[in-house]
């Protein structure tokens, strides 16, 4: 399959980490390892949020090589009933990180460290502790990976199918490891279902990667060049990250739709995800009306925490967008640099050829070779820039959008509550008038309506409180995940820069 060739960009630092691990992984077949070896690191890193209750992500790299991890890993792998060849190799390296099931003692104490960094209103100390407790139970053993993009079908009806592999020890799944084939619209369909169900509760639902008509058409048409390969690779990585975020989320994981997505062999074609369908238009209209209503609601919140956080989110999104644009241009310039260096190397080689002084000629051709090597280095650097940094930023921009959506949900709930309250008020007025006008039968009806609306009011109020709590919890979780993610990715990026510098030095020598 062409898959392995596309999987190169994910990072170099991983290469070092894998070696000690693969020695420990001597259980299974070595064939087919190539495909997954390259993959394991992105999988690994993205899992940090969920184990890092107080464990710093960077340590995972070093800890991955310690023997304690190795031991727990080996026991883990032996506990796997099913040994289907490839999947295990994929998870061989990954499971090391996860097997650091945070012993609850260290988790609790380090969990406390996180709170100072979050600005919280003093009025709700107990709920914070509650949230802490829940964080501690966050560790669970579950990995997903998206691999092997394959083109199925031909012509305009072709599509890319991705293999979604899961390995888990959670009891709610039928097997320990399993995999299914999914296509892009399936992922979108999952997102739709989840958002319909959960966004009302105020959960932050990770958004999937965007549709790209141009990219997909290129793939469909069958242009077998590097740009479509790149596109497929990007999409695959993005889908993987998306799934990982979904399974990291404790309440989303419980959702039967998610389980179905991961387990069921054949999913019904997700309709309503096609851009030009009726559902697509409906969505656009809804979005427009939402935008309008957003502008008119002004929530007067007793809890200023939400306001602050919303503002922070918005300004952060702005900054991230700027950063993303700059990183994009860096990637482009590096690619340009690559191309130019290659061309320059060739012309230097020709110059060396035409130079008749042999020593100089040799020197010039050596220079040409060096420049050539530099070009490959630059290319790799550009790729790593892109895959590590730019994608991270893009993801977070989308996530921040989802966070904002969450806040909006809360506002809508509040609005509903207020409306119910005002209706109740009106009903009470009606009742008072009737009382005064002394019409007993209508009075009874009015009283019934009042009780009904009172009930609604209390319910909405409770809804609102609930959603506030959920949003708060979600947000904290999100912040934590985000900070870990950023740190780890940036460290990874810097390490890749480091590596490429080292290689530059070697080349120059």
């Amino acid at each position: 399959m062409a898959a392995s060739s596309r999987r190169n960009p994910p990072p170099l630092p991983g290469a070092e980490n894998q070696d000690p691990l693969s020695e420990m992984a001597d259980e299974d077949s070595d064939e087919g390892e190539d495909i997954f070896v390259g993959n394991s690191n992105p999988v690994a890193e993205a899992f940090q949020p969920d184990t890092a209750n107080g464990e710093e992500p960077a340590d995972l790299f070093s800890e991955a090589e310690t023997s304690t991890a190795a031991n727990s890993y080996i026991t883990n792998s032996k506990s796997n009933g099913v040994h289907s060849d490839n999947e295990n190799d994929l998870f061989a390296e990954v499971s090391v990180e996860l097997s650091m099931e945070n012993p609850s003692t260290t988790a609790k104490s380090s969990g406390a460290e996180f709170t100072p960094s979050l600005t919280l209103s003093a009025t709700q100390p107990e709920s914070m502790e509650q949230l802490e407790e829940e964080k501690d139970e966050d560790s669970f053993d579950m990995e997903v990976a998206v691999t092997n993009p394959e083109k199925i079908g031909d012509g305009m009806n072709a599509y890319m199918a991705y293999k979604v592999s899961t390995r888990t020890t959670l009891p709610m799944f039928r097997n320990r490891t399993f995999s299914v084939w999914r296509r892009f619209s399936d992922f979108l369909g999952l997102y739709e279902k989840l958002s319909v169900k959960h966004s009302l509760n105020g959960c932050i639902i990770p958004p999937p990667p965007e549709k790209s008509v141009v990219g997909m058409t290129k793939v469909k048409v069958g242009k077998d060049d590097s740009s479509s390969a790149d596109f497929v690779e990007r999409r695959r990585a993005a889908l993987e990250r998306y799934l990982q975020r979904v399974v990291c989320h404790p309440s989303l994981l419980q959702d039967p739709d998610v389980r179905e997505f991961l387990e069921r062999d054949e999913l019904p074609r997700a309709v309503g995800t096609h851009t030009l369908s009726g559902a697509g238009f409906l969505k656009m209209i809804n979005r427009a009306s939402d935008a309008v209503s957003k502008m008119t609601i002004k929530i007067s919140d007793s809890d200023a925490w939400f306001d602050n956080k919303l503002q922070e989110v918005e300004s952060e999104e702005l900054q991230l967008r700027k950063l993303h644009a700059v990183v994009d241009s860096l990637v482009n310039h590096r690619k340009e640099l690559c191309g130019n260096t290659a061309v320059f190397a060739k012309s230097m080689a020709m110059l060396g050829n035409s130079e008749d002084n042999t020593a100089l000629s040799r020197a010039l051709s050596q220079l040409a070779e060096v420049e050539d090597k530099m070009e490959t280095l630059h290319q790799e650097q550009a790729a790593s820039d892109f895959f590590i940094l730019a994608e991270l930023l893009a993801d977070y921009i989308r996530l921040l959008g989802a966070v904002r959506g969450c806040f909006e949900q809360r506002m809508k709930t509040w609005q509903r509550w207020q409306e119910a309250q005002s209706t109740l008020q009106k009903k009470r007025e009606v009742e008072a008038k009737l009382l005064w006008a002394n019409k007993p039968d209508k009075l009874q009806q009015a009283k019934e309506e009042i009780t009904e609306w009172e009930g609604k009011v209390t319910q909405y109020e409770r809804d609102f409180d609930r959603i506030s709590v959920t949003v708060r919890k979600e947000f904290l979780r999100f912040e934590k995940e985000k900070s870990n993610d950023f740190k780890s990715q940036i460290v990874k990026y810097l390490e890749s820069l480091l590596q490429s510098q080292q290689r530059v030095i070697c080349t120059l020598f």
């Binding site: 922070e312 020709m350 740190k487 810097l494």
Partner: protein
């Protein structure tokens, strides 16, 4: 260095004396030493202070300085080219015109966009632009100096009267730039010359050495041109990438200052790191520019001058052969034989003189070229290595700090 290059104020940039350009390998000769000790950049021209130290008797003093402008250098160069006596020598190529336009444009754009950036960004970009301006300035001074030194080192050219006037006459040489008509004349002359050149190049040379040189130079010239333009492009993309890193650094900084969570501290540190890496990357690009691109550009011009020499010789050869044919014809018709003979002799002398000196010149050219390339390439490699190591160290320490922190 004082003053700021701003299109508004027109203030000057002073330049202290600085080392001889590295593109040529010259022996300094105590009898005549020329250098550019100072340079002042004004609104649209640059004034060079040419300083001479000489023990030759024909100068009034032993040490003196004059102020010259670019047009005067060009005048000197052209006077060499037009002098028939020097047809047999490689005339050192004229220095390129000082070109601050690009830099000035950028500065202007920066001034206009002042409102839209933060104070720090603005000062940073202004500093960068100033550094760029300074670099261009240094380069143009170096090129003018190289020209003068080449002339001074050449055993025949250094004795030229115009050269001495150039060095000594401390009033304005009142050399005006060519007006439009003269420029048109030049243009036509060039067209004719290139057509002629093609004709002359077609003539096979008796002497193997020159034939070989001809083919070699032609090829070499083209390849150097190619390499020079490609290296320019490469360096430009390098600079662009460095600029981008700069912008990343400042955006990270803004992100970092928004909050005081540890993520933000993290951002601040990374932003610092990027600032430093960017400086290194920019320096790498600048070094490449200086050592490699300049070298290639200079040898482009020199190989053109060598080609010109060959052309002149070829022309003389053709003239000689024509004169021979005319003599034969005259002898056959037995008319104007004396005239034909004298003209043939003149051509013969000219041709032989040119051939002699040309051979030596071309051999010198080769040695010079090899030495210059070697020196520059070695220096370039060393510098790149140094920068890469510096970069590595920076990255290592930063990653260490970040990992230790988190």
């Amino acid at each position: 260095m004082e003053g700021e290059p701003s299109p508004r104020s027109g203030a000057g940039f002073h330049q202290g004396s600085f080392p001889l350009a590295v593109n040529v390998d010259l022996q300094t000769d105590a009898t005549l030493q020329v250098d550019i000790s100072d340079a002042l950049s004004e609104r649209d021209k640059v004034k060079f202070t040419v300083h001479t130290k000489s023990t030759l008797p024909n100068f009034k003093q032993n040490e003196f300085s004059v102020v010259r402008q670019h047009e005067e250098f060009i005048w000197l160069h052209d006077s060499f080219v037009e002098n028939e006596e020097y047809a047999g020598y490689i005339i050192p190529p004229a220095p390129p015109r000082p070109d601050f336009d690009a830099s000035r444009e950028k500065l202007q754009k920066l001034g206009e966009g002042e409102g839209s950036m933060t104070k720090e960004e603005f000062t940073k970009m202004k500093q960068e632009l100033e550094a760029e301006y300074l670099a261009i300035f240094k380069k143009t001074v170096a090129m003018h100096e190289v020209f003068l030194c080449r002339v001074a080192a050449h055993p025949v050219l250094r004795k030229d009267m115009n050269f001495h006037v150039f060095l000594e006459y401390n009033q304005d040489l009142s050399v005006r730039g060519k007006n439009k008509r003269e420029k048109m004349e030049d243009f036509f002359k060039n067209v004719v010359k290139s057509a002629d050149g093609v004709l002359v190049a077609g003539v096979k040379d008796v002497d193997d050495f020159f034939e070989h040189e001809k083919t070699f130079l032609l090829e070499y010239h083209n390849r150097v041109k190619d390499a020079s333009s490609k290296s320019d492009r490469m360096i430009r993309s390098h600079k662009n990438a460095a600029d981008d890193i700069n912008r990343i650094a400042s955006t990270l900084y803004t992100l970092g200052t928004q909050d005081s969570t540890d993520v933000c501290k993290f951002f601040l540190k990374v932003s610092e790191l990027f600032e430093k890496t960017r400086k290194i990357e920019a320096r790498v690009a600048a070094d490449e520019d200086l050592k490699l691109a300049d070298l290639l550009k200079y040898y482009l011009r020199e190989s053109q001058a060598a080609k010109d020499l060959l052309y002149r010789r070829g022309r003389a050869l053709v003239d000689y052969e024509n004169a021979n044919k005319a003599l034969d014809k005259a002898r056959a018709k037995n008319k104007d034989v004396l005239q034909a003979e004298t003209s043939q002799q003149v051509c013969c002398q000219k041709f032989e003189k040119i051939s002699e000196s040309a051979k030596q010149e071309l051999i010198d050219f080769k040695t010079r070229r090899v030495a210059a390339f070697r020196k520059n390439l070695v220096e370039l490699a060393e510098l790149e290595l140094k920068h890469a190591k510096g970069n590595l160290q920076l990255l290592q320490s930063c990653v260490g700090v970040l990992k230790g922190d988190t």
